[in-house]
Point group: C2
Chain length 336, copies 2
DNA sequence: CCCGTTTCGTGCACCGTTCTACGTAAATCA
DNA sequence: TGATTTACGTAGAACGGTGCACGAAACGGG
């Protein structure tokens, strides 16, 4: 135990003593609650300033609000998260709310434990980004804390809100663009599911893909990749060297499209002459000259902003669920 | 699970009542403190299991430990963070500690407020990654909470620890590799400073660059880029189209090397025939076939692991500062 | 001038833990 | 057997806030 720090913390009592008022009065000023005269407020604020007082979030959490939002991200390496985060931040900052981030490793168990941690830390609300947690588990947690989910489709959920881009539409945009350019042999590359519910974005995009392909009287064709590790690289290699390699691939995410592109170039394939490629998320990398990947943009900042706004209205008493779908756009580049 | 939906939270009292013991007894079991018989422990653990009890971190924080570590990251978009984070996580997980992440926008003011937030939330310790906060400010906070800093050189600091790769050495490795291949006109690309102290990694790498250049009787040449925005792209363009464009550039980070590479290719420059490039951080992207960027690797996971270990020993009473420097390695690829 | 309203400030009972100090029963020793 | 140690369990005071219930002024209308 590290002690020996004589720097004792400034508490609400210190402030009260310094200002010559009661503890309750200081608390009122902090929360700008009703029944505080200007004179009192001034006195207290002066003391707060002088002593550099900051309320303990932990103590606050025991009775009132913590003024902190929990944000759960799938990981830190995902290029579409920064946009969403920034969108959330833009809202919370002006509302005087703080953010605590939890990083789930895209494993449902880790994510559940992170949600519990957020609840235990008395966050006022929660935003889950691309969580893989099942709908009913979420309903369970939603009874304990306001929850908004981004990147997970659960349009019938009662207890929490969902904010998404229209993944089916995004997929149709991509596939249609390929069809318009004359491609016929178009495959969809998805991720091999761990817990995969229909609610995840990849299956949703698959639906959009199928719709567009079938509407054009073409044959759907589904490929899949595991998330990490050596088998993944191996499968990419095999996919590209197979005799029946598709002429065009729509990838569920840039996360897979870019390694695919990399391996294609390594194999001497020309893109798009030998292989056309479209990704999803329009990550910053996609725009680089040497990548130049056509991708579907889902406007992360807007998603984040909407999510933060939703969690605030829910915290303020809204009980009926909100399910928002925004329109994605195709960003055409040289890969098709 | 026979767990019905209880509206009220399961507290330590609920468990105590259910197990027919005192509150203190339950607390002892939770913290596996001294003086608990097997019979008692079993009874309590059964109740905990049955009721699904989880202690409130907020309440815990009021007296004892929260078993939570705060990790402050510069941003989420930085490709060298995932490695460090993973290293930290590997240690905390086995120690039964949780992590809360704060995302500073590389602005010192935001970062200070995040540190305060972590203290207010009663984290048991803090790891700052690539923070831009001045040394004396850190000393101030270090008196309130154990702090370990990664990616910031402050070898004389008393109150907190620093864990770094040897940035000067990394730079020398890169520059020497360029010299060995016969390049003479080698520039260093750094970031335009906002608050820049010598403690930041970019100035450290500049020292290494200068050392190696001067040792080879060459002339140092320093270029700089702002962090974001349109002026940045413009400056990259100008840098590459200038008549006196250097023959080789050592970039302080892949973060700048990759956009530079992108623009170079867009301008029709051949790499490395017209322009040689070496970056820093060996981010995952650097290994892609179409980027293929030589880069200095600083072994993020190891840095993270060391940082977590340091914060634990400090939490357990160590008072004397530790300053660790690990050796970086050059990962040669096609860009030079 | 009296009495009902406001307005403002305070005392105090929480919130859910931890942890010290203490009581009691069982075990060990002389 | 009585004295002393050891092991186990409990009561209750913190911790740093919030917010309800209450009382004392100040106000204002009849």
């Amino acid at each position: 135990m590290a002690d020996g720090d004589t720097e004792t913390r400034v508490t609400i009592r210190t402030v009260a003593a310094d200002a010559g008022v009661s503890v309750a009065a200081v608390s009122k000023v902090m929360r700008n609650a009703y029944g505080v005269s200007d004179a009192l407020r001034l006195k207290v604020e002066a003391s707060i300033e002088r002593l550099g007082y900051r309320p303990s979030v932990a103590a606050r959490g025991m009775r009132g609000r913590t003024f902190t939002l929990g944000v759960l991200l799938v990981g830190i390496d995902n290029p579409f998260l920064p946009g969403i985060y920034q969108g959330i931040e833009s809202v919370t900052e002006s509302a005087g709310y703080k953010i605590m981030v939890g990083v789930g490793a895209a494993r449902a168990r880790t994510e559940v434990s992170l949600i519990e941690q957020m609840i235990d830390n008395r966050m006022d609300g929660l935003i889950l980004v691309a969580s893989q947690i099942a709908g009913e588990t979420l309903e369970h947690f939603a009874r304990q804390i306001p929850i908004v989910v981004v990147g997970h489709h659960e349009p019938a959920a009662q207890g929490y809100d969902t904010i998404n881009n229209d993944d089916q539409m995004g997929a149709r945009l991509a596939v249609q663009a390929l069809i318009d350019r004359g491609y016929q042999d178009i495959a969809y590359l998805t991720q091999t599911d761990q817990d995969d519910h229909l609610a995840d974005v990849a299956p949703q995009r698959e639906i959009g893909y199928r719709t567009a392909i079938l509407a054009a009287n073409l044959a759907p064709r589904i490929l899949a990749l595991p998330q990490h590790g050596a088998p993944r690289d191996h499968q990419i290699h095999q996919m590209l060297t197979a005799p029946d390699r598709p002429r065009a691939i729509f990838c569920w995410s840039d996360l897979d499209a870019i390694p695919l592109l990399s391996e294609a170039l390594r194999l001497g394939l020309r893109v798009p002459e030998d292989l056309a490629l479209i990704g999803y998320d329009n990550s910053p990398m996609a725009g680089l000259a040497m990548i130049n990947l056509t991708s579907v943009d889902q406007d992360g900042p807007r998603l984040g902003k909407l999510a933060a706004e939703a969690v605030f209205t829910r915290m303020n008493g809204r009980r009926v669920a909100e399910h928002i779908l925004i329109e994605p756009t195709l960003i055409p580049r040289g890969s098709f």
